[in-house]
């Protein structure tokens, strides 16, 4: 094949899944983010997922120190970062070792062959060099001496060799830009801005980037350009947004829209801390982000702030929610607005703290003493976290009872393009706030429509009142230990949550509206399930498969029985041991549910799901 010839060879792809892996110090997160951002800015749909090692900085070259970043870029709608890889970029043997199993057979793995030293091979527990021992014969291996090529390219910059080596990720990125015919301009802009104060670093990085592009262009081993054309999207201004960031912004938006200040009381915990980090930046925009001494103080302070009239939230992950249970019960009793965000991670106990899971559903529903129902909703994707945070705030303000918002590590850390939604586009939020004297004020007299009680704010003359965790008189809110009043109050609090059903959208079904199989999911598995159903239907046009995804858990939305009754089989797929399926069974015992549970700290994959679909309806 002549050079000329292969230059012209291109391959159109509907979407491509690329993963960058290397040492924590190799800059894989930056590389991945740049690639995704450029792809998005150039019109692709993208979904990303970073995979950090659980160690802060593991020893160089170790298997458990591998840091990864996966991105799925598409010319059509992309709902997940993808399962199997089309391209793997491995900066060292440990990265290769731990990730090669996910590469599709026959597909390309680009490696920095300079890093395949004896010592690195040893650290990766390779007995022989995989680049030469034939063990990778199933794959299209592209070994590139990236380290030396980068150093060569930078030899005139005056940088020391260690600093030069640090730019090899840009070399790799350059190769990928060539491969996907992407313009490197956004990355160049980014580098110029980021290292504004260190021109030599800007220069080095851009040089390395260009060297990578140039090298790929001349490399016979890479005979193909991949083309992933721009995806069709709703008109608008877009940005890439990370789930946790979207959650944070959704709350700011709700606070702005409702004319309140936002108060966060939180204690750091992986993978929820980024919400705190994000909100801590915006204190001058009316956000109080208070880092408390522990989770209990976090939620307690939020209760105090809510009483004082703020839109109050608290953010955490599984074990932190366990600690907040008692105080959440108090908030339910006080009937004040409060949102508790749980970015779920692998449990039980400390479990798999850097991995994703959906195993806190039951805890969100029942993790506190007494009859203490809370509204529970879940976000389905990084960008959807903005809407769901907004909605959680709207619901708690409009119904005067706490809301638990469930997201997870997968969507919290993942990112995707998001059409920016300004406040004008967001639904109105009304509140029960009272800041002026009012005749005939009774702290627990309810709005018959929602059963919400008035929210009279300290500072308001004449409405002084005391609320507390003891059972309360149903009108005055004063302490009452009367038996009948207690029963009424328990039922009122339950009914208040149940009434929310009338204020949320009914369950929707995607794909077929009736037929053989209804795939059911909730929360962060939305993308994985949708992708799997789509792929399955593409392959099996004769099968009637619907997909119903729950964003609203308590109360369940209208239309559940109606939807379920239209399918012969119902499959409930979750990243836990079947909690939502159990909850559905409790509420709709008349249906048969098949469970698909994955409890590996990993998202659902299309292949495994499609196998399951087959098992049920083939």
């Amino acid at each position: 094949m002549s050079k000329e010839a292969f230059h012209k060879e291109t391959r159109n792809m509907d979407h491509a899944v690329i993963r960058f892996v290397g040492d924590s110090g190799d800059g894989m997160q930056l590389t991945g983010t740049q690639f995704s951002t450029s792809a998005a800015l150039l019109g692709n749909d993208v979904a990303t997922f970073p995979n950090y090692p659980s160690e802060i900085r593991a020893p160089q070259g170790s298997l458990y120190g591998v840091s990864g970043f996966q991105v799925n870029i598409g010319s059509t709608e992309i709902s997940t970062p993808g399962d199997d890889l089309d391209i793997l970029v491995a900066m060292n043997p440990a990265g290769l070792k731990t990730n090669i199993k996910d590469l599709k057979p026959g597909q390309m793995v680009i490696v920095d062959e300079d890093s395949f030293t004896r010592s690195n091979l040893q650290k990766a527990k390779y007995e022989t060099n995989p680049l030469t021992d034939g063990s990778l014969s199933n794959y299209n291996v592209v070994p590139v001496p990236m380290t030396s090529l980068t150093r060569e390219a930078l030899k005139d910059t005056g940088l020391d060799s260690k600093s030069m080596t640090r730019s090899k990720n840009m070399f790799a990125l350059g190769m990928l830009y060539w491969l996907f015919s992407k313009d490197p301009k956004y990355t160049e802009e980014f580098l110029k801005k980021k290292f504004k104060k260190k021109p030599v670093v800007v220069e080095a990085n851009i040089k390395a980037l260009k060297a990578g592009i140039h090298f790929a262009d001349t490399l016979e081993l890479m005979p193909t350009h991949y083309i992933v054309t721009a995806a069709k999207k709703e008109k608008g201004t877009y940005r890439i947004i990370m789930g946790n960031q979207a959650t944070a912004w959704g709350f700011i938006a709700a606070a702005k829209k409702s004319g309140l200040e936002l108060y966060l009381g939180s204690y750091p915990i992986t993978p929820a801390t980024d919400i705190l980090h994000e909100l801590a930046k915006w204190r001058h925009l009316g956000v109080i982000a208070f880092q408390a001494e522990d989770e209990i103080a976090g939620i307690s302070s939020a209760i105090g702030a809510s009483f004082a009239g703020k839109l109050a939230i608290t953010t955490t992950s599984g074990p932190g929610l366990a600690l907040k249970g008692e105080a959440l019960g108090l908030a339910i009793m006080l009937e004040i607005p409060l949102v508790v965000v749980n970015v779920q991670r692998g449990g039980p106990s400390t479990g798999m703290p850097t991995k994703t899971e959906q195993s806190d559903l039951m805890q969100a529903l029942y993790g506190r003493n007494g009859e203490s129902p809370a509204i529970v909703i879940a976000a389905k994707s990084p960008a959807d976290s903005y809407d769901k945070a907004y909605e959680a705030a709207k619901l708690t303000l409009e119904h005067m009872t706490p809301v638990v918002l469930l997201t997870d590590g997968y969507i919290g850390n993942g990112s995707e393009p998001w059409r920016i939604k300004t406040l004008d586009e967001m639904p109105d939020i009304s509140t029960y706030r009272i800041t002026e004297y009012q005749e005939d004020f009774h702290p627990y007299k309810r709005d018959p429509k929602t059963l919400a009680r008035p929210w009279a704010i300290p500072g308001t003359p004449g409405l002084e009142h005391v609320i507390g965790g003891l059972e309360k008189d149903k009108i005055e809110g004063t302490v009452s230990q009367d038996p009948i009043n207690h029963e009424e109050m328990v039922k009122l609090r339950a009914e208040k949550v149940r009434k929310v059903k009338d204020f949320i959208p009914a369950l929707e079904t995607e794909f077929d509206q009736e037929g053989d199989l209804l795939v059911v999911g909730w929360g962060g598995t939305y993308g994985s399930l949708k992708t799997a159903v789509k792929e399955y239907k593409d392959k099996n046009p004769d099968k009637k498969v619907g997909f119903a995804h729950f964003s609203y858990i308590n109360p369940l939305p209208h239309g559940v029985a109606d939807t379920f009754s239209k399918f012969k089989n119902i499959l409930v797929a979750e990243l836990n041991n079947g909690q939502f399926a159990d909850f559905l069974r409790m509420n709709y015992p008349e249906f048969n549910y098949t469970k698909y549970n994955k409890i590996q700290g990993l998202p659902l994959g299309s292949k495994e799901l499609m196998n399951k679909f087959d098992e049920i309806i083939k």
Binding site: A253, A308, K310, G468, T478
Partner: protein, 336 residues
Amino acid sequence: MTTAIKYTFKDFASDQDVRWCPGCDDYVILRSIQKALPEIGKKKEDIVFISGIGCSSRFPYYMDNYGIHGIHGRAAAIATGTKLANPKLSVWVASGDGDAMAIGGNHFIHFLRRNIDINYILFNNEIYGLTKGQFSPTSLLGQRTKSSPYGNAQAPFNPGELAIGAHAKFFARAAGNDSKLQTKLYIEAEKHKGAALVEILQNCVIFNDGAYKDITDKTVKEDHQLVVEHGKPMIFGKNKDKGLVLDGMKLKVATIGENGITEDDILVHDAKEKDVTMHLALINLKSPVVMGVIRAVEEETLIDRENKITEIAKQTNPIQSFEELLFSGQTFEVEG
């Protein structure tokens, strides 16, 4: 309602029946606070009482202000949120020794170190009252209670000492039966900018009656209590003839008129000294027990500091509105 309104203590009494045991010092505390509030120049709607759980924590119900009867141990944390949310409010915590220093110990020390402007009244009866008589973190070694039938084996905290360890800037103490001093201290606490802790040696007539009688009984009171005042010599005794002097790094009681000691030799109380050494010595003194405002050091409060960094954010962050934030960084247009 105007700011000039003149309240009497009755304006701060709610319509709820007070449900403490007859004879409990909690009544004295209640009345003393109700007497203090007309003096602090705050409108009643701007005052919030927050508590945990315990006999003492029923306090907010009896005040005609805003209030939360919270959960056990969390009053300081709840109050922190309320104060951060609205710094204009006068925020008070009513808490028992168990509520504050057993389950609530963590919030207790953190609210102090942060120096947030909350007035914290510690009802120290050295017992769990509401749960009917178990030893608390301030119960004496050897004390027999329902949960220590052979004597308590857990050495007690001294609340003032713990507070100093947590960097308390304001600490005051009064006997549970001394309404006049209490009223004064509550006013001082409110005036003080920053976290203010007032410990009340509160008698529980049911489960720990007489715990303080050696200090608070009318007959011994004057000889066993030293009420300090900033700038005044630390003199006490029925005959006002005893006072504190220094002996190396330690405090000693001397008698005026004996061994050539005159009033001028008596140490003058300096509540504003930043260094904790002397205050700690006063707090730890067993005989006499020191009452009054022992420490009152003004320093930036949490709110001051929060305001400062908000100012930094305002000055330095290029993004100054939510709209700007939404469109910050790399964005792209889709024509649809």
